[in-house]
């Protein structure tokens, strides 16, 4: 561990040059831009810059690309909060409370909470990487298909178990999500599933298109129905509000620590940032004293997913470099870049490319601090957008949504899908079907199914493989406990099942 600190100091000596700081600032700014626009994401930004990096030193190249990634993670939260359109998949959970806050005229506050907690989460993630780099990599190797499945199941059950909505409608929403997620090629059998010989369905239905429809367009329909203007949104910008919000941050220390822990866990294991943010939100809703207020504009509902999202994003850099596992589309492109720069991801990277690895880790500290500052600086700018009349901003949001839907796969067909899901989102909201379980089922459904079926291939169809060692056994058991607790509580005849469930969740936390 101490030697890691030495290495970090060395890393700072590499990263702290005027040229590198310029790259960080440029990367973060560009990242915020692509993150804010739903049609563009970190993968686009990284792909754009990749050719530029071919002539660079690998350290400078990775500093530029990772800075862009941090910027995009920050920017992704902005449109989630202001317009209910997640700029990045991992900021879907931020919409649940961020958007209601903005509707109450507390946009500045919500954005500030989001950026500060994101920065906090990122720092925790980097500190873990710094101190535990070697241990973490070998831990990640323990994850085979059954462990993957257990991690997904745990993320799933901690979000779902005690959620709102009637059970029947929650089940329908889940089934819809699973069903849409299954379309396209089946990894395990190689067969086309539910594509009905329609060429546009071969690639499956993209989660992003669904989210743009359900949340973006669906929400616009709800807004316009209620009246022609954004209610309560006020464009008055008060920079002091940012400082006041920052001063209130420490009182949410528990939510931040919990979110970071969930995020680091999901970043190191193969869960990924998107599942991490959902899991963190679900746990926070259950554990928090303000649990009942979640979904109606509760700051903790912004802080929990944001810290988890960013700590997962940063922690996932480690398995990426030391094992070559791309945790996201962005890191897949970065891995491609690594090869082009002449580096091979693997354990030897840490031994042979000392400057590269530690220069990058050091730049992550700088990049995220600079990211928070720059993101906060954009708050007044974005908050001002809310003061534009809905008659003008509404149609612009529509075009942004549709451009975003198109760019996912360059397919005109997806525009129709987005509209269809927009109508569906409107109806589901009106009828109190919960949207979040549907989105979560889409995100992890097909991955979980693949992992499950790979496990069954390994075990010749026996589910006991899910308890075949202590790691997978513990994960599976906790996940099932979370999932089944309401049923158990009911069977035991407890009258206040929900309160018992909350207590159980707290115990589950402690385990």
């Amino acid at each position: 561990m101490l030697s890691n600190l030495d290495s970090l100091m060395h890393g700072f000596s590499v990263a702290l040059t005027a040229y590198h700081i310029m790259l960080i600032v440029g990367g973060v700014l560009l990242g915020i831009l692509v993150g804010v626009l739903p049609g563009l994401g970190a993968p686009n930004g990284v792909t754009l810059l990749l050719p530029l990096t071919f002539t660079m030193d690998p350290v400078s190249a990775i500093i530029l690309l990772t800075s862009l990634y941090w910027g995009a993670l920050f920017g992704g939260s902005t449109t989630s909060i202001l317009f209910n359109i997640p700029g990045e998949p991992s900021s879907v959970a931020t919409t649940f409370d961020g958007y209601p806050l903005a509707r109450q005229g507390r946009a500045t506050e919500a954005l500030t909470y989001a950026f500060l907690s994101a920065g906090f989460g990122a720092l925790v993630g980097i500190i873990v990487i710094t101190l535990l780099s070697t241990a973490v990599a070998s831990f990640a190797l323990r994850f085979g298909p059954p462990e993957y499945f257990a991690v997904y199941l745990l993320a799933f059950s901690s979000f779902i178990a005690f959620g709102g909505g009637t059970p029947l409608k929650t089940i329908i929403a889940l089934a819809l999500g699973f069903g849409f997620g299954m379309m396209g090629t089946d990894t395990v059998s190689g067969a086309m599933r539910l594509t009905f010989d329609v060429p546009d369905l071969i690639r499956g239905i993209s989660f992003l298109v669904v989210v743009i429809g359900l949340f973006g367009l669906g929400e616009l329909l709800l807004t316009i129905e209620e009246g022609p203007e954004f209610k309560g949104a006020n464009g008055r910008i008060d920079p002091r509000e940012i400082l006041r919000t920052a001063a209130r941050m420490p009182r949410y220390w528990a939510a931040m620590l919990r979110g970071s822990a969930v995020g680091v866990w999901m970043g190191i294991t193969p869960g990924g940032p998107t599942a991490a943010s959902f899991m963190s939100y679900g746990i926070a809703r259950r554990v928090s004293r303000n649990g009942a207020n979640f979904g109606k504009g509760e700051p903790e509902g912004v802080i929990a997913p944001e810290t988890a999202d960013h700590s997962a994003g940063t922690a996932a850099m480690l398995p990426m470099l030391s094992l070559g596992i791309p945790g996201s589309a962005t890191s897949a492109v970065m891995l491609g870049g690594l090869m082009i720069w002449g580096l091979n991801p693997g354990p030897m990277l840490f031994v042979e490319q000392h400057d590269f690895v530690w220069g990058m880790i050091a730049s992550m500290y700088l990049g995220n601090v600079i990211g928070v500052v720059l993101a906060l600086a954009t708050v007044p700018l974005f908050a001002a957008m809310l003061s534009v009349s809905f008659a003008i901003i509404g149609p612009i949001i529509v075009t942004v949504c549709l451009v975003g839907a198109y760019t996912v796969a360059n397919a005109g067909f997806d525009l129709w899908l987005a509209v269809l899901f927009g109508v569906m989102g409107y109806m589901m909201k009106k009828l109190d079907y919960p949207l979040a379980p549907m989105v979560l089922a889409m995100v992890i459904g097909d991955k979980a199914e693949d992992a499950f079926r790979q496990s069954m291939l390994l075990s010749n169809g026996s589910v006991t493989i899910l308890w075949s060692n202590w790691l997978v056994g513990t994960l599976t058991s906790i996940a099932l406990l979370f999932l089944l607790w309401p049923v158990v509580a009911m069977l035991l005849g407890r009258r206040r099942a929900s309160r018992a469930a909350m207590a159980a969740a707290r115990q589950g936390e402690a385990v």
């Binding site: 089946d186 690639r203 354990p347």
Partner: protein, 333 residues
């Protein structure tokens, strides 16, 4: 379908508009060209296409800009269907592998490799048999004997289903008369990590997919599916170079050669002049230092094929693969 036919129509319009200006023998792109990649971002084909793009940009080989789009849905089917829809459009260049002819065997598609206009094959990626560093299997024969003693007990991982890796595993099974359990993962990188973690017993990764793991003493190559060992080069680990790895045939695994071509096509019905232009362009790309560097670093075998040579290669590979697909009952048509 509507979108595609419209795109084809639009392409046809420009084509006819620019026809008079275009002499029969020479053709040159006049508007931005699109490189259609039949894999997701970061996949092998993606790195291939982006390396070509970078070399073109560096040496100013094209008068117009190049946009790379990833259409990797359905293991690449999406990209070919898109190319098929752009009938006759010489501005869309499709980058792939042997999936151009294996996919139509495995799933129902609306194209056959004969429909596409072949442009060039730029390299062949090699396959190796890998085991975990501390694995008891020292040679290919050990692995086969273990599988023979307990059929199905040896687990081999690979990228995707009914794709190159599983085809190779099927070849090994048939050649050696044994049975393995094949576990499909999303990509070669994942199969490599799963091997390093001991969740599978072997995999058939390309050299570039597992070089990091080899240098880090997590996995080691047992043999290479090639008629002779790889050409001599720098040492990869402290003691060994790629050329030190014996051929599989010499280890009692009678699969002489297995490799994956890196192919480039134009949509069906592209004009011959355009085909000639692109073939010539990629030949020039294959002579750039950037390309040579890429081939060397990823331990592929550079070999430029075009025209009839490429057609013959495709015919031969397609015949061999179809044999396996039919025998395994994987064909869908």
């Amino acid at each position: 379908m509507k979108v595609m036919s419209r795109a084809a129509l639009a392409a046809g319009l420009t084509l006819s508009a620019s026809l008079p200006a275009m002499a029969q023998a020479t053709w040159q792109p006049t508007r931005p060209v699109e490189f259609v990649v039949t894999s997701g971002a970061g996949g092998g084909t993606d790195v291939f296409a982006r390396t070509v793009q970078a070399a073109i940009a560096k040496h100013d080989l094209l008068p117009v800009s190049v946009v790379v789009t990833n259409k990797g849905g359905g293991s690449g089917v999406e990209g070919y269907v898109y190319g098929r829809g752009a009938q006759g459009d010489p501005n869309k260049v499709i980058f792939g592998t042997n999936n151009a002819w294996t996919l139509p065997m495995a799933v129902r598609t609306n194209w056959q490799v004969q429909d596409l206009t072949p442009v060039a094959t730029m390299a062949f990626d090699e396959f190796m048999l890998w085991v975990k560093q501390d694995s008891p299997y020292r040679s290919a024969a050990d692995l086969i004997n273990a599988a023979r003693e307990k059929p199905g007990s040896v687990r081999i991982g690979g990228s995707q289903t009914r794709d190159t890796d599983q085809t190779l595993v099927a070849l090994i099974q048939r050649a050696a008369g044994v049975r393995f359990t094949y576990i499909p993962y999303r990509g070669g990188g994942e199969a490599g990590v799963q091997l390093a973690g001991g969740h599978i017993d072997a995999n058939t990764n390309n050299p570039s997919e597992s070089i990091g793991g080899w240098r880090g003493s997590q996995v080691r190559p047992v043999c290479v599916f090639r008629r002779e060992p790889l050409p001599a080069g720098d040492r990869v680990t402290e003691t060994q170079a790629w050329s030190d790895i014996p051929t599989c045939a010499s280890q009692g695994l009678p699969v002489d050669e297995y490799r994956m071509p890196r192919t480039i096509f134009l949509p069906p019905g592209a004009p011959a002049a355009a085909q000639a232009f692109w073939t010539d362009l990629f030949r020039r790309v294959s002579e750039t230092p950037e390309w040579k560097d890429y081939v060397q670093r990823t331990s592929q075998s550079a070999r430029f094929l075009a025209g009839d040579e490429m057609r013959a290669m495709i015919r031969e590979e397609e015949r061999a693969t179809r044999e396996i697909f039919v025998a395994e009952g994987w064909t869908s048509n």
